[in-house]
Symmetry: C2
Subunit: 212 residues, 2 copies
DNA sequence: CGCAATAGTTACCGACCGGTCACACCTATG
DNA sequence: CATAGGTGTGACCGGTCGGTAACTATTGCG
């Protein structure tokens, strides 16, 4: 029970004097909260973790949390935006890895997404939030829709640049394959359909004339 | 507030005398609870609705609910089994619609699933439960895994009967397409990739040599 | 009829939830 | 040194949650 309370207060004053320069100066409370909330929402679900537990895990307290975020829903939105921003870097890395070669980028997309499937078996935070937050008009829905639409548009663009005929249908297919692989991975595990995500994607791309 | 409390108690005694035979004798409490819980879990999420609200919506009370189900988790499992059983009837209907013609059944599967996408925009109850219930060892996970595995095996069998080469990969692909279409439909709406679910499936089947 | 099983009612419990308050604390800057 | 702003602390609030107890009402069946 009390194991979770490891090291909390008077950390700055004590450590700053005893350990001297223990740099890597830990992030500001707000950043710690967002990052920690991200993890805990993933582990327990948005409804499955309380703001008090989040604050404690972030080595701060509920009052500070509410000074930075107006409500739990607000915090949820910020964590989803946080995840979205990290996803944006993925596309940049893809382009620098295969500059100018859209088809190679497409195959790289498949490979990278397959890696995500094994590295992050919890699925997509945004999609999971969409499943969990049924309340109509919840502010998170806008964040989710923007993110998912943007991700899909990037894929549509990539398929178009690769010169594939019916590029939009290919992008739709690949989007559904990824989304389905993630939820299948979560529901049945590694031995389900998601095991053949790469083969399915490659076969699909080839059937669209992407072999050349 | 009190609008929800429409007609509750002394229904049997009063109505039986006044209205005479108002048959269609409403289901037993247990069945009403399971059916109602199914709907409410869909609308608000499993964690988003309380047992008290479920009992009231089922025109009974919490005490009766707990006489039939050991806990809320138990009720959750029963509702998931209930949904699973209804899904089994789907496959029978598919076979009677196209007896002996596996390829026609496969195309019928696509069509029927597309219909589900528009009729039931909330996605798959079992998959949603898998997303929402993160607790390790939750009894629902076994129900979900059994159901998803069984559904996929039926599809594998169907693809095999249709004489498609690489039938298992085709089944995997179609499974992921369906699962992805449902979550995409839920996250982005009707204009997302799920809009082209049928075209994606048909193109996939054709590319596997299923056109003959 | 009389009995047993099922169902309804009310109240209650402890735990936890999101959110707020008042107040003490620390640290950087002037 | 003094001041101000961000931070930590603990108590508190009303509400809701899952689950239980005790008692009454109703029903079906021998």
């Amino acid at each position: 029970m009390s194991i979770t309370t490891v090291q909390k207060n008077s950390k700055r004053s004590a450590d700053a004097k005893s350990e001297g320069d223990c740099r890597e100066a830990r992030p500001a409370p707000r950043d710690r909260i967002v990052s920690t909330a991200c993890d805990l929402f993933r582990q327990h679900g948005i409804r499955g973790i309380g703001v008090d537990a989040i604050a404690e895990a972030a080595e701060t307290n509920k009052m500070t949390l509410y000074r930075h975020f107006g409500s739990k829903d607000d915090l949820v939105c910020e964590t989803l935006k946080f995840t979205s921003q990290k996803a944006a870097a993925f596309w940049d890395a893809l382009e620098t890895a295969h500059p100018g070669d859209a088809m190679a980028q497409l195959h790289g997309w498949v490979k990278a997404r397959a890696q995500c499937l094994t590295d992050e078996p919890y699925g997509c935070d945004l999609a999971n939030a969409a499943v969990e937050l049924k309340e109509q008009g919840h502010p998170a829905h806008a964040v989710i829709e923007n993110f998912k639409t943007a991700q899909h548009q990037r894929l549509v663009l990539l398929c178009g640049q690769a010169g594939v005929p019916q590029s939009e249908l290919l992008a739709d297919t690949l989007s559904m394959l990824l989304e389905g692989a993630r939820v299948s991975r979560l529901a049945i595990g590694t031995d389900g359909p998601s095991a053949h995500f790469v083969r399915a994607c490659e076969a699909t791309i080839a059937s669209f004339g992407g072999a050349r």
